[in-house]
Symmetry: D2
Subunit: 341 residues, 4 copies
């Protein structure tokens, strides 16, 4: 980590799906303008916005439940899930059953191969996406949360055994206040249409319908958007349609840059939704929500959720529990997100 | 599931590491004597003792924490972990970093292969172990929790894509009262010696040292034993020594049949410890703790925990959170167990 | 191997896709009628018809080439190949390229996961398929080449690390006389239609067109049928159509029982074709060509070949080279089959 | 491929384990001095020295055998093989055997994961190793055979699905004259000692003992050195000792730069030996035999051979057959090398 360069000179400013070109300044000076380093949790931090889930935040969240009823907010993992691109999922329980003889029994285990941190209901950690920034000398560098570079992540092992910085194992447990914003419910539809961009006005109206306002979203909260898109989960070609990025795709609904800026301003700990990407696909502009959330702020994402039961029961505030597995060097993690009312 | 046979005639009774030979009777009639079907949660149940974690149990557990401090009760996952036998663990973050050009950024994911549900800190579900029972006609049948047979688990796919019954995805979330029983602390040692059998007297004395008694263990609790064995985690040849089952092994400490019978009698939801197997290795007799817990009672196990910090801070009662990933058809799951004081 | 039972009593006779029910007799006595044990290469043999490729056969075959020109008779391996059912194919070259510094260089290797012996151009060994036979007591047993049973193959390791008998590593190299029978050429079509059964008359007429006859096929020869079906190789949904076995499939062309009996009578060493299965799909009757070839005779198969160039150049007799990789315990092998004219 | 730069300016000359610093010249002009581009087979060639195996060379080689006896020159593949570093090897035959019922049978296949092209007896292709060269502007570039760059190999897919240039599928079949040079036999030992550098004098004396001379090695030949090191194959910790590169290792015997230069001068098609690396380990100087053979000349290597039977029978000239599997984009391949006397 000694060689990490975080205080490089930067040139201009914008967060785009392409290059981040920042105003001439030291990185520290650009903090008010967007991505910045050091980030809000100090120059060596790798836990990002999970730091907002403090003991006091946890204690308060534990007081929310009134009935103890739980909701599963994710899908089970299986080979038939929609997947992003061509990602194999293979599992074989071994050893196979032996002929039953008089003595003993059987002990089974399962061999799996696949994209362990980027399949199905998935938690995106800080190593999942970086963005290119232009340096003072005109060259480009790929930068991740808190100014970690691609070289920091891949220096010695080139990804073998996992990244060497910002692995998902650094994320603290999410045991916090959860807020559901039911956009599909506000719109009165089962699901938003493909490629629909959820606007700030949509969000405000949906909150109002729930007798809430923007001010009910606070530091450390986990915020989830119900688009209703999970109705397509069992139809991968439709659900996946949002992925591929060719002209033929219809995409999927989602938030975009303005809501993202609002969420960042509230210092939430996590944002999720019931679609591949949380953000609208295809992107209507050059902003990239993943990188807006990750690079300066360290806010992780939870994708491919299942929020319909929660919405149907009008559970808008709840105890949220989401525990990223501590897979060393992984960019993401499977997650079994739980709401308790 | 239509062909499942649960009401077979059985011959005599004993739970052993080998054959279960039950008294001539219907299965229902053997209930008081050990394994039985239907089990306590009904004939079709696949969730076992996780059923004891009811909404009321959850609500009560949420009231336990006083400070909101969290403890990690597991180890991170990495290739260097001790493993049971020869189990490959491979992870490569892909794609590797591209040369940084002016536009765009980078999106990483990780390809993994290995024993996803039976590596490191692991949750053993109901399909992990079955035992052979002798039928009235003298033949043997391999039976799992609630009388599901090997044939029920492997009927159509022979384990490809997971077992067809008792997959770990049926387990409910463990959000319950946790109890730590610090055996190493009672003994005044860093770690119990290899092959040490923890006795009922040890357990009672350890509880007394904690100002607790057997009566402080109740329905739905998650009970964990600190052997101190996690001191060997970074020394796989020592830690693993308990696994291999050859005469050369020194084994690992653990509970055995009498404590197991006590835990069953209290209808706990989960038992765990900081060793490979929770139960003492090598086994001093013919009883098999895994099968005692699984077959009739559906009590799952949590292995390879890290309990030293909890013990050092004398946290004996806490909110426990453990969420088995819903990997369809898996026999186990990775788990990130959390205690909140 | 001590417990292997090869001299069991059998009841009646027929080779079907289902049960083999053999006439009451010892196995040795049924030899004239179909499957039999011991087979033609002795009771312990695991090399099957590759035994026919003797040094003298090799020496003779080496004399065939006149020009030294080589033909590739297989397809390259890649993820986009047609596959039988859902079989993942994943390859990642690792480590990814490091940033280029002044010293050193780069060493790459490739991590692969998939069905190593049953993908693309594939050699089917003796453990690939077995058939059920009914024993004198009415029970059934799954039997492979030379009377090896499923229990022989899976006794100790249940397939972990490969089968314990009849692994493809026992096969001797195929360096022998090759014969192409160009059925598509005889029919004057690019490809035979799906589900077309190649008849004995077709075979004879195709040979006559090549100025050959049945008597030009002899002991130890490798015999290949060109159906022209490789035109569909780049169209997996069409090529695969032959696999799935549902009513919607159109199938693929191939030989069936009568040609198979002829090939067996000539004691050839190998049979192959440019389709998934060599044999016609769907099967028009209860005979199963794989099992006819494997069980009694030990004749392996080579599937998914590419024979068009050979046919276009009218190369009907050639030196054939096919080397099954000696992957211990595998049921098949990738193969790069070569013809030299 | 359009962007590939092959005619770059280079500065000075030397083949080292580190940077290749070439004399100021065009690449073509450096040809006499070491690595050069375009190579001897034209600027677009990806088949390297396998091009020397022409139809005429094949025809001549087919005339060598007198008896037709075959020798296996490689080891079977299995999990217990010595491996270079930590490389998992996993195979499970699936599906497991079903209970045998009256109808049908069983079809097995094998799921494998591991380093398919870099395990056991392995053929190293042109993408396996590249070296860094310094450009006229002082920067470094990683270059492979024929001037292909790391960027050419990894441009679009970053190794996913294989390299994009110089994949092993471009290699032509090796059906050629084989020459064995029995160094261990000349020395009168079972095996050369670890780290022993085979000298030019050793090679000449060994050839003389075989009634051969340097002039008996010609264009397109496959040349193999017997070090006797295969005696350690079943002792991975000894055999592997040559790999790891720490100070504690004893290494393995092998050729070095002077013999390599001789082999290059003879335009052989392939060089192999019965050790991990063919070349002596640890390296006694800065030369890297792999890169000397690969970069300018395109001469591939065959590692971890088994040459003892051939040496014992004094078979020094033979028909060699080695068929790299055409695994698209792989850096190497398993191989079953065969000698016919």
């Amino acid at each position: 980590m000694n060689n990490r360069q975080r205080t490089v000179s930067i040139i201009s400013v914008a967060i785009t799906s392409g290059a981040l070109v920042l105003a001439q300044s030291t990185l520290a000076q650009t903090r008010e303008q967007g991505p910045w380093w050091p980030g809000p949790h100090g120059p060596d931090d790798q836990a990002g916005a999970s730091n907002y889930v403090t003991p006091m935040k946890i204690l308060a969240a534990l007081q929310i439940p009134q009935t103890g009823e739980t909701y599963e907010l994710g899908h089970p993992y299986e080979a038939s899930m929609p997947s992003y691109g061509s990602r194999p999922y293979f599992m074989q329980v071994v050893p196979p059953p032996a002929p039953t003889s008089g003595e003993g029994g059987i002990a089974n285990s399962e061999y799996f191969s696949g994209f362990i941190g980027q399949m199905g209901t998935q938690f995106d950690g800080m190593a999942h996406q970086g963005g290119n920034i232009q340096m003072a000398d005109g060259s480009f560098r790929t930068v991740f949360y808190n100014g970690f570079t691609a070289d920091d992540l891949f220096r010695n092992n080139r990804g073998r055994g996992g990244v060497e910085a910002l692995g998902v194992e650094h994320m603290k447990p999410f045991i916090t206040r959860g807020v559901l914003i039911d956009i599909a419910g506000y719109k009165g539809v089962d699901t938003l249409p493909a490629a629909y961009e959820v606007t700030l006005d949509d969000m405000r109206a949906a909150l109002a319908r729930q007798a809430m306002s923007e001010d009910d979203i606070g530091q450390g909260d986990a915020v989830f958007f119900n688009y209703g898109w999970a109705v397509n989960w069992t139809n991968p070609s439709k659900y996946n349609d949002s992925y591929v990025g060719t002209g033929e795709n219809e995409g999927s609904p989602g938030i975009y840059a303005d809501i993202t800026r609002f969420l960042i301003s509230r210092r939430i700990s996590l944002v999720g939704a019931d679609s591949c990407c949380v953000e609208v696909r295809p992107r209507p502009g050059t902003d990239n929500v993943h990188r807006m959330l990750f690079l300066g702020e360290g806010i992780p994402m939870l994708e491919n959720m299942e929020l319909r039961a929660l919405a149907a029961d009008e559970v808008y505030e709840f105890l949220f529990i989401g525990l990223p597995e501590r897979i060393k060097g992984a960019t993401g993690s499977p997650m079994r997100p739980i709401a308790i009312r």
